[in-house]
Symmetry: C2
Subunit: 218 residues, 2 copies
């Protein structure tokens, strides 16, 4: 455990209580770390952003690493929570996949979703455990969600995956939904994907999967 004597259970989302200034520090750290990454962020920026003094920062977190860890873990938790808001009803697989894809992209392409990806990847050498947490909280959870959906469709005979495992299909789906738009946004941060671009991409991806696996038992 790398925190100090916080009231308990840190969470940026305010699930739980933390003395006022500690929360301010954590929120400030979130903003600064997500914007600048670990190395380029300074404790001065965080302190200033939080409106507290340096020693208040260090009263709550033993050092910069601990603060970073707290922020990233908290973001991963929030990310997973956002994913679990994705709901779908069985039947009408094509529509369901489209909705799921759009909702997933909403999270992935949100400012904090994008920044979390960037920072987790950038710091994977220095913070390997955080990178693992990120993978499990994001890509892995998403693939699991899609796999559950596909399992239902498979049982009802709506789809036929041939020799490809259901998990592999789910994994391919989430990767394909995410990758190109995310990469474009990461490399052109000033030109976020337009709503039309997103819609076209989702349509193309869903069409690809329906052409390949749709049409039921063969």
């Amino acid at each position: 455990m790398q925190q100090r004597n916080l009231t308990e259970h840190v969470s940026l989302s305010g699930e739980t209580e933390l003395s006022g200034k500690a929360l301010k520090v954590l929120q400030a750290a979130r903003k600064v770390f997500l914007a600048h990454g670990f190395s380029a962020a300074t404790t001065d920026m965080i302190q200033r952003e939080a409106g507290v003094s340096k020693s208040t920062v260090y009263a709550h977190f033993i050092n910069k690493e601990a603060l970073f860890t707290a922020v990233i873990k908290s973001e991963c938790t929030a990310f997973t929570r956002a994913l679990h808001n994705i709901r779908f009803q069985p039947g009408r697989l094509k529509e369901t996949l489209s909705i799921l894809a759009r909702t997933y992209l909403d999270v992935v392409l949100s400012p904090s979703g994008l920044a979390l990806y960037r920072v987790a990847i950038a710091e994977s050498a220095r913070f390997p455990a955080l990178a693992h947490t990120f993978y499990r909280a994001g890509p892995q959870v998403s693939a699991r969600l899609v796999a559950d959906l596909l399992a239902g469709a498979s049982q009802s005979g709506e789809v036929n995956f041939g020799d490809t495992s259901l998990e592999a299909v789910a994994c391919m789906f989430v990767n394909l939904v995410r990758s190109e738009l995310q990469l474009q946004y990461l490399t052109y941060p000033d030109s976020p994907p337009s709503a039309e671009q997103i819609e076209t991409w989702v349509t193309n991806v869903v069409t690809l999967f329906m052409r390949a696996y749709g049409g039921g038992d063969k």
Copy 2:
């Protein structure tokens, strides 16, 4: 231009001449920046790695930013060159796509390919122009290569893309080939994807596309 009086045309790959120590500096900078990113890398590391003094570094590059820019541009050029080594013959689309996918993954999952991606993304806010260069040199070139291949297959009636544009199909293909294994390697740098994992993934992806678009005119 951010370099100083180099003999001419910097290139890490040794295309061209640069006074001995300047090349040493650039090679050292490559190693250090790709390993640590921009902020965590220090000119001390580079100087030590190159076996020269601080002032030798600054005799050739006006500052740390210029050195970083030179390194990343050079890596992007090398990346594109590696991609253009991908050759394929028309006909036998499925085999050709598999070969292309494996060769592409070879480049993307190489230590320098992976590091370039990580650093370009991590520093896209501070060096937007470099991020653009990276996107064009990597993902964009790859998609173009695949599009050219698919155009041939489409003309010969080997495939039918329905309402989806050829460029979109090519883009989806390279993204799907890359994304999952790259992300796994980025988040678990100590467990590179195994040969079997790569083979399975490529098979699944190629199968997906052949099921969706193969079988010729419909």
